[in-house]
Symmetry: C2
Subunit: 200 residues, 2 copies
Amino acid sequence: MSTPHPIEFWFEFGSNYSYLSVMRIESMARDVPINWRPFLLGPIFQQLGFNTSPFVLQKAKGDYVWRDMERQCQKYGLPWSKPSRFPRTGLLPIRVALAGVNEPWVGDYCRRMMMRNFVDDQDIDSVAAVTDVLESMSLDAAPIVERATTDHNKQRLRSQTEAAYAKGIFGAPTFFVKGEMFWGNDRLEDALEYAHTAAE
Amino acid sequence: MSTPHPIEFWFEFGSNYSYLSVMRIESMARDVPINWRPFLLGPIFQQLGFNTSPFVLQKAKGDYVWRDMERQCQKYGLPWSKPSRFPRTGLLPIRVALAGVNEPWVGDYCRRMMMRNFVDDQDIDSVAAVTDVLESMSLDAAPIVERATTDHNKQRLRSQTEAAYAKGIFGAPTFFVKGEMFWGNDRLEDALEYAHTAAE
């Protein structure tokens, strides 16, 4: 039996299409190992010359996106409510995700954080919000937050975001399988398929 | 038996993702009537503040798109060759498509014109190119070109492009089913599904 290649999953909590993939990836991936790659989209957009999400900058596209999200969530059987603030900043939550990428709780944490933004329509970028989510998973929040906010982890997030830019990432979610880049939740199935066909 | 709603198919010959949908739509649609809606993307981009395709303006996205097109064509079993000029203008070809929207040859014409751009890597915006394509279909090209270049048909294309903008179209391909907008070749299946579920 051959082992499939891992899938790198680049996402951020403010991104609505990342929400779809965060909710779907673990159940879709089956035996494909997932390398969680939380990063910040804001600095990427700035380097590309945008001061916020293209869905805010381009009104026609933005209007469409919210209708598309409703339909996509219906298709996937996911809960959805249009956030009253968009894009929400999620610096602390993404630092926690990065600190937890190798923890068994990373997937569950990411789903709960995403649902806080895109289902409960609550802000996510505070110690209170992160504590809430971690405690809902019966985790001890304080040491995790402490680990997430060390200089080391902060620097790691900066490096991860620079790595995203260097890899050619211009949006989220983005997947990499064996060096091949796939952009958008619509390409999750293709990326996973490639993880299998590229197995050695 | 209920009749499915028609699908409006907004496309243009310079658009690479329109190529995928032009090639697929007739075989995918089955009993869903297709209303062909050729329009010009250039004036839309200009009204949105872009002087050319976003794939040219945003280098990272552009680089990705060509790799994505290779993979998508492989997935759909379609021929593909990256055009050496992008985006190609296609004013005369789109006027011909508009003049032919109710002709039985419209689908075949659009596929052949698209293949000229995205498979044969040849320019499309000349009487010679259009004549070539029409004659390859055993059609009498001259009267069709004449009909396509009347003031009436030119004005009709301007109106059609204004209508695209008024409907909120910001890219191609775009589909409408019963007033619901679907953007991108990735949504063709969803749009056709909706044409069936929305049947009365």
